[in-house]
């Protein structure tokens, strides 16, 4: 690996007429997927890939290679030389990243080796046996990844980082009626995993899942959003805090820097170095990441700005990408939050959310994996999954209580590149949450 990276550094020097931006990644996974309390499949997979962008003035060409070698890379550059002068310019391009600090970040622990399949199977057997007396089975994934990345460019950027995230996602599903509850674990260090705690949290939820099932009518409800549910809403809202959204006219935060939009107890940041979470050190261009306040005491503070949009929009770049969103805890215990709801809902998780109008932050989506009725301060029923149609800005404005603890929520970007990210979220109470229909099913 390092020989190849040294070769890449040498190669860059041979093309002073261009600016080159190179990203080299060695990625492997041990990925166990299970259903009905048994193995579906276990995957071991290794991929080495290189991305390269060649800039000549304001003209650019990008390509990707798997299993790259220097000779093939030179051939690709030679190929690009034939036409790059004939491509139209990008008038908004100024320069590539110039954060020159040479750094190496990340622990060199390979969790794909450290946690073997035998250990994973033993843990799953124990969890499966724990839920079995309640007539539940477990479904989910147990993933360990190892990623070594290098970002190098002609401006002297030279970054390396290693990450080896772990994610255990367990859904307990009732054999009787498919009522589902979920428990997750995510970190870079499996020593932090406490199987008994995990099992106990899962079983507490399984017990609630045995409550009678009811249906709810559309209407506006007081709801407690569990950490996974509020996490997903925040991720959608923060699309609007990217400089790209600002540039394309889709940002709900346009002209709102330093404006108080939300209640004072709401503070949300991107904290890539928070060691409770799966950490990120650089953006895709090699810019060093730091904590960024996005909403501080209800005031919108900063856009997330990469090198390109920083230059284009004349904003200070920070490279933040929302990989580690932290919602600061409040002052209410979870029990007190439940007790204060007279007639409302607890929503564990969301499904298939989509924007109706990104600028207006209107979205629709559904609840999943545990929706419950709260009556006079107690959880009394399982509720069929529900559809909501809301404005995310209004959702945050309507937060009336924030739990005094926040929890690590791992999640994967499963659509193209497989990354494991995490957020740190408390439960929140929200008033006037708009339920627009019922699925009439679990």
């Amino acid at each position: 690996m390092n020989n190849f990276v040294a070769e890449l550094n040498e190669l860059i020097k041979k093309y002073p007429q261009y600016k080159l931006e190179l990203g080299y990644e060695s990625w492997k996974t041990n990925f166990l997927r299970f259903f009905q309390s048994m193995t579906n499949y276990n995957i071991t997979k290794e991929v080495k890939k290189l991305s390269c962008t060649i800039y000549k003035g304001k003209r650019l060409f990008s390509f990707k290679m798997v299993n790259p070698n220097i000779n093939e890379l030179k051939k690709k550059i030679l190929y690009a030389e034939k036409f790059i002068d004939d491509l139209p310019e990008d008038p908004d391009f100024v320069d590539i990243e110039n954060d020159k600090e040479i750094t190496k970040q990340g622990e060199i622990v390979d969790n794909t080796e450290k946690i073997n399949l035998k250990d994973k199977i033993s843990i799953l057997n124990e969890l499966s046996n724990a839920v079995k007396p309640y007539n539940f089975k477990i479904y989910g994934t147990f993933i360990t990844n190892y990623v070594q990345s290098f970002i190098i460019n002609s401006n002297g950027v030279n970054k390396e980082y290693i990450t080896s995230p772990i994610m255990l996602d367990v859904k307990a599903v009732s054999d009787k009626n498919q009522v589902t509850v979920i428990e997750t674990y995510g970190s870079e260090d499996f020593v932090k995993f406490n199987l008994n705690d995990f099992k106990s949290r899962l079983l507490n939820k399984v017990k609630l899942a045995n409550l009678p099932i009811i249906d709810m009518e559309p209407g506006k409800y007081e709801v407690i959003l569990g950490p996974a549910a509020i996490s997903e809403f925040i991720q959608y809202l923060l699309y609007g805090s990217s400089a790209q959204a600002l540039d394309t006219g889709n940002s709900c935060f346009q002209d709102k820097i330093n404006e108080k939009i939300f209640p004072e107890n709401i503070s949300i940041s991107d904290s890539p170095h928070n060691d409770r979470m799966i950490r990120f050190y650089y953006d895709q261009n090699g810019h060093t990441l730091k904590k960024l306040d996005i909403i501080k005491n209800g005031i919108f503070k900063n856009f997330m700005v990469d090198n390109y949009y920083g230059n284009k929009l004349k904003l200070k770049k920070n490279g933040n990408m929302g990989t580690n969103i932290v919602f600061e805890p409040g002052d209410k215990s979870f029990d007190k939050m439940i007790k204060s709801v007279k007639n409302g809902l607890y929503i564990s998780k969301l499904h298939y959310m989509n924007f109706i109008n990104m600028k207006e932050t209107t979205v629709t989506g559904l609840t999943r994996d545990g929706t419950f009725l709260i009556k006079n301060g107690e959880i009394t029923n399982v509720v069929n999954n529900l559809r909501y149609t809301i404005s995310l800005i209004d959702l945050l404005k309507n937060i009336t209580a924030i739990e005094n603890k926040n929890y690590v929520l791992p999640f994967s970007t499963n659509y193209s590149e497989f990354f494991i990210l995490s957020s740190l979220m408390p439960s929140v109470t929200v008033s006037d949450f708009n339920i627009t229909s019922s699925t009439k099913a679990i």
Binding site: N42, S62, Y139, T141, N250, I356, R368
Partner: protein
Amino acid sequence: MKELIKKIINKLNIPEIDFADVRFTKTDNEGIFFERGSLKSVSSSIGNTAIGIRVLINGTWGFAASSKVDESVVDKLIKNAMESAKEGSRFKWDKIKYKVVSPTIISYEFKPKEDPFEMDIEEKVNFVGNIAKKLTQNPKIVHSYAAVNFYRQYKMYANTEGTFVDTLLYDTSPVMFVMAAGKNGVQTRTFPGHMPGQRGGFEVLKKYRFEENSEKIVKEAVDLLDAPTVTEKKSDIIIVGGHLALQLHESVGHATEADRIFGMEISYAGKTFIKPEMIGDFRYGSDILNIYTDSSDKRAIGYNPVDDEGIPARRVDLIKNGKLVDLQTSRFTADKLGLKPSSNMKASDASDVPLIRMTNICIEPGEGTLKDLIKDTENGYLLDFTKTWSIDDNRNNFQFTTEIGWKIENGEIKHIVKEPTYYGITSEFWRSCDRICGPEEWNFYGTFNCGKGEPGQIMHLSHGVSPARFKNISMLPKE
């Protein structure tokens, strides 16, 4: 490569392994993206290789894959796959069994009229650039893009039953988009809509007639800024084009994937409201509704002569005269349900495990033209061009918003409406279908972006539809 694949199959033909297959893929992608008339990226990813080995031991799958493809990785991959299966079988109470399937040997090569990977980059860039420039002329258009993705994949599949298949396929997916801004917010228009993917090369890009449609979408986006919204809570709707394809995709396509019945996708994509006992009996739609899957149709993106576990391509009726009669199945799920495998197991590339995936799911055409259908509609809306889509994890409760709708009164289109939103329950919705247009209005609509599985896979697939009318559908007026 053929020799290497055969060598691997020989190594896997041992008594300890009940069944095994090997796939090799070499995938090429090229993308051109213009934003507000300026070229933002030309990207290419050529010759991406992958090999994947899947083994069935003790009724359990093990799978190992690598982007490096040569003899040096083979033994390690076989070892990893076998260990995964053996260790995984310690967490298993029901074994996967495969009924023997006769071997198939097929070679198929699609030849595009204009191979985009053999053309000069400048020619392709200029073509898209000309479209992009036309989108920027109106001052109310604050954002626009024009883009195209070209795709080519060579695949070899072999299994221990003697099946050997190799295919070379080309797909192209172009799109253009504009966003207009005014005092009432922003409105968007996209063309050709949500499912622009087609089997073919550069000729696909020409077929869509982007230049003449660019003026149309610019005008529509600007007009939408001041357009009224839907006010009714119930209305008849005619759904056309790519949006009907998406409605079919979400509420029939995914719902009839048999792996969802067994909870194999609960951890991510979700379940289905369909239960085994509903097959052959459940009224999914109205009497006029006939829906089938056909992986043997060479015209469309989902064509696949043999699926990724050795089942030859075939047409299977899913809904016949409104009744659910079959599902999209794998060999495992078909056996469990007493059905014949439908040839729907596919993986995005060789480094992915095959899953039940849609190929070409189509609504059989009915009769008449769209013009006739509009004329026959007293009061309602015509809807196309998806803006928002959302459906629950049982594929039962959906809500869709389109970018634009056209109000119909007394058989005539009167005016446009912005962001019309409708919602419903899958079977109630399809039972309300009272007319489907004829073959003259029937087309394929394809996507490159159907996500499923973990690690996630993106599948190319298509849907054949002609416009259809649905009666008394719930609408969501904008507050």
